[in-house]
């Protein structure tokens, strides 16, 4: 891991995000909720608008100029995403979001009820529920501060294990998981690995070839891109081995009274008219992050994460999840509870907005099992992106001090 210094100032990016000019009650907002969904830079908004304005047409089927332009922009976005992940464009399937990518795998692996999927118990509903529906989810236990006992993986791997699935960065902990070790352990037993990169993709450089993961999913809306578009990466041979997911137009080559043949990858898994403008916007978002440089983005995120945790530790009685993790393993995300009797996590988040125009998340963050196991009745989560500054972290903590004193 790279140490968080020197801090790369990315303040200049703020001008690219029109949402940051929005005011609440006459005051500028402090946006610390990108883990929920990130604001969009002008280039993404413009890419989406340009498609509507200049190119609206379906992809892959029209022969007129607009359709050709739309198809070109759509496939250019696939190339952009593939380069972002160091994958081949044929290995990039566009989905609605991470959730759909995981559901696609859960469906198309043809799992049986006795098949086992190993995952940390802190996983988001999206990386938990599909495995429960199609097979048997085997959760890895958690330490008291929420960090999974990653070292337990080997003892859970069994002949029934069909897949290992884990978040690269948990949406609760904000800590980079030791996915290389898990991939290595699983592969030594012949078990494929799915990485949920929903939180990590816009903070941590990703190289699916170097990682050697079998599947990886992420969502556009957390990557500064539009909502309703996501990415499923799969090794070509793994994707080819999957059974069909949705069928319909776009994924079929020939269809007659007796048979049909499907398109090649990646279109085989993209039935129906896709979210064309969403994909194009996602391409613009990824290009934006690549222009900044993902190493720079990561160092910025690490530095803000470290500052966030160090500052939160100064609040008396505050409990930070994954507080035992080394600071350099964190991205700009921390989840915590305050010692503030009478204040629930949602009322804290609401008050931060109403009183200080600071936007954070409060509640269970789609990780009920983690909260249940740690006996937490909700938590507050602050999360950063490229446009956030250390001053904003300080502003948050100063506001939180009103709840805790000290």
């Amino acid at each position: 891991m790279t140490p968080p210094d020197p801090f790369p100032a990315l303040d200049w990016t703020r001008a690219d995000f029109p949402l940051l000019r929005r005011q609440i009650d006459g005051h500028p907002l402090t946006h610390l909720d990108s883990a929920s969904t990130a604001p969009k830079p002008d280039c993404v908004i413009e890419a989406v608008c340009r498609f509507y304005r200049d190119h609206t047409a379906n992809v892959h089927r029209g022969v007129h100029v607009l359709s050709e332009e739309a198809t070109e922009a759509f496939e250019r976005a696939r190339e952009e995403v593939a380069s972002f992940l160091n994958a081949s464009p044929a290995e990039i399937i566009f989905t609605r979001n991470s959730t759909e990518g995981i559901n696609l795998i859960a469906h198309s692996l043809d799992l049986k009820p006795h098949d086992e999927i190993i995952l940390p118990a802190l996983e988001h509903h999206s990386n938990f529920m599909p495995w429960r529906i199609h097979s048997r989810a085997v959760p890895i236990r958690l330490a008291p501060d929420g960090i999974p006992h990653y070292e337990d993986l080997d003892e859970h791997l069994s002949p029934q294990t069909r897949l290992v699935a884990l978040a690269h960065v948990s949406n609760i902990l904000g800590v980079v998981a030791p996915i290389e070790k898990w991939i290595d352990s699983a592969h030594r037993r012949g078990v494929p690995v799915l990485i949920d990169a929903s939180q990590s993709a816009s903070h941590v450089p990703l190289d699916v070839k170097a990682l050697d993961c079998d599947f990886l999913v992420c969502s556009g809306h957390k990557l500064l891109g539009p909502s309703g578009v996501g990415v499923l990466y799969g090794k070509r041979e793994k994707l080819e081995a999957l059974s069909l997911y949705q069928v319909g137009g776009g994924m079929v080559k020939v269809h007659d009274d007796h048979q049909f043949t499907t398109q090649d990858l990646p279109w085989r898994f993209e039935a129906g008219t896709p979210n064309i403008e969403g994909v194009i916007g996602l391409g613009a978002a990824v290009a934006y992050l690549r222009r900044i440089g993902m190493n720079t983005v990561f160092r910025h995120s690490q530095a803000l994460g470290a500052r966030l945790v160090e500052q939160l530790r100064t609040l008396p009685g505050t409990v930070i999840l994954a507080d035992s993790a080394p600071l350099e393993q964190r991205i700009g995300l921390a989840t915590f509870t305050l010692h503030a009797p009478g204040w629930g996590s949602e009322s804290v988040a609401r008050n931060l907005c109403d009183r200080h125009q600071i936007l954070v998340s409060g509640g269970y963050h789609c990780a009920h099992i983690l909260h249940h196991r740690l006996a937490l009745e909700g938590t507050v989560r602050a999360s950063t992106h490229v446009f956030n500054t250390p001053d904003e972290i300080d502003r948050l903590v100063a506001a939180l001090r009103e709840f805790t004193g000290g």
Partner: protein, 446 residues
């Protein structure tokens, strides 16, 4: 737990003015928010009504920016109150720029409710602190939004209170939801059914259509949002003999007005002061204006001249019921933000629109939108048998209200959805406007 009871009977006005003076002095002297207001106070030698009139208006934005500590009078301490369980922090519903959090003191609220109940004959004997009460409103108001899924009836029953609803928009109720709520109402046998009229109208219509037996509450109190004639008609159909009254208040202010047996609204003067600011001449209907509420006798929160965002129509003659204490309103007119405007630019309240079209036979729900000056869209959910004549009649009546040159379109809807807050808007403009110059700056009536 500390209990508060309504003050004993006093000469009309004298006790009220003393309470008003005490609440104002407490706020100005001891609540941090009002420090900047002190120079505006003419002082205790001046009549209390004039002192209030000289002060600014408290807005929801102020509440958001300074709650809780700004409004807790010293030497009380918010954290201590929370720790001892005397108070809670409660959020109102609504979107960011409409909602607020407030300091909730249950004994004060209960006493305010009991006092307000005395303004309807017989109701105060029922609302005595031990009444069984069923609540039907948005789950945001009822506090049943949670992350642990559907709650059982036992989990929704807090002592003598049963919270019925678990969905943010009653249009999404399934038959099973409605059957469950009706069954729970029958089994719970509440003394009072406290309901959002839009929600109860939908439930009542379903019960009437399916022939479900009607629950038998002793009273129905309509609150949470403006009760339309459309709502009343559907509710009355299921509850033909149950006393139905409208109770006006808010989470911030407690119970402010209660509809009496004569259909007029009387101020709950033991627990709140109401200042009335009429429309400027020619900008809105006569005797209609917005209200600023100051709460009285609440040891934990000082609210002075709070613009609650609603409008009333003042009564100009005594109520036949004989009650004279505080203001009497002929009607609650709806929210200020729901004002629409005639072709000539005069403000039209939700109440005016409702009086114009709310009694249309076959109308089940409606919304009047004003996309721009002089243009209006009537959206109606109607019983099929009445559809043809209803839209023509609605258009004619709205033209009578907004002006002969009004451009009115009508649109049949299968449902009209609730806002994010879970509440409905009967009227709304789709263009920006503000209240500048709309109300008489010096015309406050107390």
């Amino acid at each position: 737990m500390q209990t508060l009871t309504p003050p004993p009977a006093a000469p009309v006005g004298e006790r009220y003015l003393a309470d008003c003076a005490m609440a104002l002095d407490l706020a100005l002297d001891q609540a941090p928010f009002y420090e900047s207001w002190r120079p505006r106070d003419p002082g205790q030698t001046i009549p209390v009504d004039a002192r209030y009139a000289a002060l600014p208006v408290l807005t929801k934005r102020d509440l958001r920016a300074h709650m809780p500590r700004g409004f807790v009078p010293r030497p009380r301490d918010f954290q201590t109150g929370i720790a001892t369980g005397e108070i809670e922090l409660v959020s109102t519903s609504g979107t960011s720029e409409d909602r607020a959090s407030i300091v909730w003191h249950q004994p004060w609220w209960d006493a305010s409710e009991h006092s307000a109940a005395s303004l309807y004959q017989g109701l105060d004997r029922v609302i005595n602190g031990s009444q069984r009460e069923a609540v039907l409103t948005t789950p945001l108001c009822a506090g049943t939004v949670c992350h642990i899924g559907e709650l059982t009836q036992a989990e929704r029953t807090l002592g003598r209170l049963l919270f019925l609803n678990q969905k943010a928009d009653p249009n999404h109720w399934t038959p099973a939801d409605k059957n469950r709520m009706l069954e729970e109402l029958r089994l719970f046998e509440p003394d009072v059914l406290e309901a959002d009229p839009a929600y109860l109208a939908i439930l009542a219509r379903y019960a009437a259509e399916t022939g479900a037996p009607a629950p038998k509450p002793r009273f129905i109190s309509l609150t949470y949002e403006f009760p339309s004639r459309v709502h009343y008609r559907q509710i009355r159909r299921l509850f033909p003999n149950t006393p139905i009254l409208s109770s006006y208040g808010s989470t911030e202010t407690g119970h402010v007005f209660t509809e009496c047996e004569q259909g007029r609204f009387h101020q709950n003067a033991a627990f709140c002061r109401v200042d009335f600011q009429p429309f400027r001449n020619g900008r809105g209907a006569e005797h209609v204006g917005r209200i600023f509420i100051s709460i009285l006798n609440n040891p934990w929160m000082a609210l002075v001249r709070f613009d609650v965002g609603d409008l009333i129509r003042l009564s100009t003659d005594p109520c036949p019921c004989g009650r004279t204490r505080g203001l009497t309103a002929l009607a609650i007119e709806g929210r200020t933000r729901d004002l629409t405007f005639t072709v000539g630019g005069e403000a039209v309240t939700g109440g005016q629109v409702d009086r114009a079209i709310g009694d249309l036979e076959g109308l089940l729900a409606y919304q009047v939108e004003q996309p721009g000056p002089g243009t209006y869209r009537f959206r109606g959910v109607v019983e099929p048998a009445f559809e043809k004549q209803l839209f023509a009649e609605a258009e004619a009546r709205l033209r009578g209200l907004y002006g002969d040159t009004a451009r009115i379109t009508t649109q049949r809807e299968s449902a009209i959805g609730a806002e994010q807050s879970g509440k409905f808007r009967l009227t709304r403009t789709l263009f920006p406007w503000d209240t500048t110059d709309l109300f008489e700056p010096k015309g406050t009536v107390s």
